[in-house]
Symmetry: none
Subunit: 249 residues, 2 copies
DNA sequence: CACTTTCATCCAAAAACATTCAAAATCAAT
DNA sequence: ATTGATTTTGAATGTTTTTGGATGAAAGTG
């Protein structure tokens, strides 16, 4: 096989997979490690790829690289505080549920390199989790256009066969009288099920959610622990019926 | 055999394959190495090809040669042609399966505003489909970091309860002898299942996939219709055992 | 820290190369 | 058709490039 052909093959592999190992190439091409290493060295000097220990990765334009990183930044300060605290509750080898939504999304960067399995119904959540090399199971079902949340009967069905050590949920309305509420019927059903399947369900909510009541009830307040940046005076009564954690700003 | 004929033959080979080895030519033309080398030297001086150690490669316009950029664009052009044709096969009210992978991803823009339901195991696919307001079901399961494909037993389980009018699959290797193959075991299982659940399974593959053999077999070639930009001479035998559609470039 | 994997470097064997030369084929004139 | 000149061919030669294994150093893993 021609050097040229090997080079082409390696670059094509990279085009598909972003990274290749020396081992993989030696097996597929049936050439020695020495040869493959030489190939990689040459291709690197041509700026066609970047060598890494054990193989090579695709060369990215700086712009691309930046946008990858950028994904993990910027949330409102209160959301981020809540998320960071929630993530600190996660223990090694937990199997946790992370609900779709922006507050729970903010937790994900704080889970980096933790030995946990995450089940989620948030498509962007799953994507970021995978990027951070966290074992991730995405629930199946209908995808909701606006929020990229997975919902529907299929979702509930799969959920009903899972069990979580902890669940971290977003919620639109939290009220003493009407409990935990959300605007979408199908999403409510999924949330309800996830809370039921978790040993310790937590609700992540900034202060604006308290006193709000939405269309569908998901669960009673006393079923969950609430995590917030600040509990408004008007909702102080909640502390009588369930545990509320106020994260220091 | 005339010198002129040999030259023609060599250039034709290059047109097909981009690179040829001296050895290959000597075997096929049944002439000595000396002769073939002379041919190559002459053709190079006529700027019809570029010599490399062990053989020769196709001459490219300088612009092409220089930028990796163009190569990527060009590659995705054939993918795009294949994808566009595949999308044209979709009929109203179909329930189709769209496999994870870049070729099938290219189909999605062509499905915009079509009254179809799409089931997929590609996370980016589902995301784009939702953005284009197409009814989308994402399969559940483990998410694969590199490709963002959903795989694993959970995935197969849900798949087994679905039925599709058509399935559009990507594939890494297509060979007369070894059938349809792919490098990842779990992904292979999902693909196999999806093909089984579809009334009309299609394989989308550019010409580079033919003759390739990967680690795991997914299905036999005759189970599917192949859609490609160009079927290489060496794989013509495929037309005897299944339907192959070559999309005009 | 021990242990494994991957790495760069060196070297000898193998493959591919340019060059030379005599035989074979082609041509051009008789 | 035969001869001699010319071109093309394939084998032989020695040189250069490429290859794959061996080695110990470096990096990654637990």
């Amino acid at each position: 096989m021609l050097t040229e052909e090997r080079h082409r093959y390696i670059l094509d592999l990279l085009e598909e997979k972003d990274t290749v190992s020396v081992q993989e190439i030696t097996e597929k091409l049936n050439h020695s490690e020495s040869t493959v290493r030489r190939d990689l060295t040459q291709l690197e000097s041509q700026q066609k790829l970047v060598r890494v220990h054990g193989g090579a990765k695709k060369r990215r334009r700086p712009s691309e690289e930046a946008s990858m990183e950028e994904k993990t930044v910027k949330f409102s300060h209160s959301k981020d505080r809540i998320a960071q605290f929630a993530a600190s509750l996660v223990e090694d080898n937990d199997v946790i549920y992370v609900d779709a939504g922006s507050t729970t999304f903010a937790m994900i960067p704080y889970l980096k390199d933790r030995p946990v399995t995450v089940v989620t119904n948030g498509v962007p959540h799953a994507s970021l989790l995978a990027d951070l090399h966290i074992e991730t199971i995405l629930l199946g079902g209908k995808i909701k256009q606006r929020t990229k949340a997975i919902i529907g009967p299929l979702t509930e069905q799969s959920l009903s066969r899972m069990y979580f050590t902890k669940a971290f949920m977003g919620m639109n309305g939290i009220s003493v009288e009407y409990g935990l509420t959300t605007p979408d019927v199908e999403e409510a059903s999924v949330k309800e099920r996830a809370i039921r399947q978790a040993n310790e369900p937590y609700i992540l909510a900034d202060s604006s959610k308290f006193g709000e009541v939405d269309f569908v009830k998901v669960a009673d307040v006393e079923d969950c622990v609430l995590i917030t940046d600040h509990l408004p005076q008007s909702s102080r009564k909640l502390t009588d019926i369930t545990k509320v954690i106020e994260v220091q700003a």
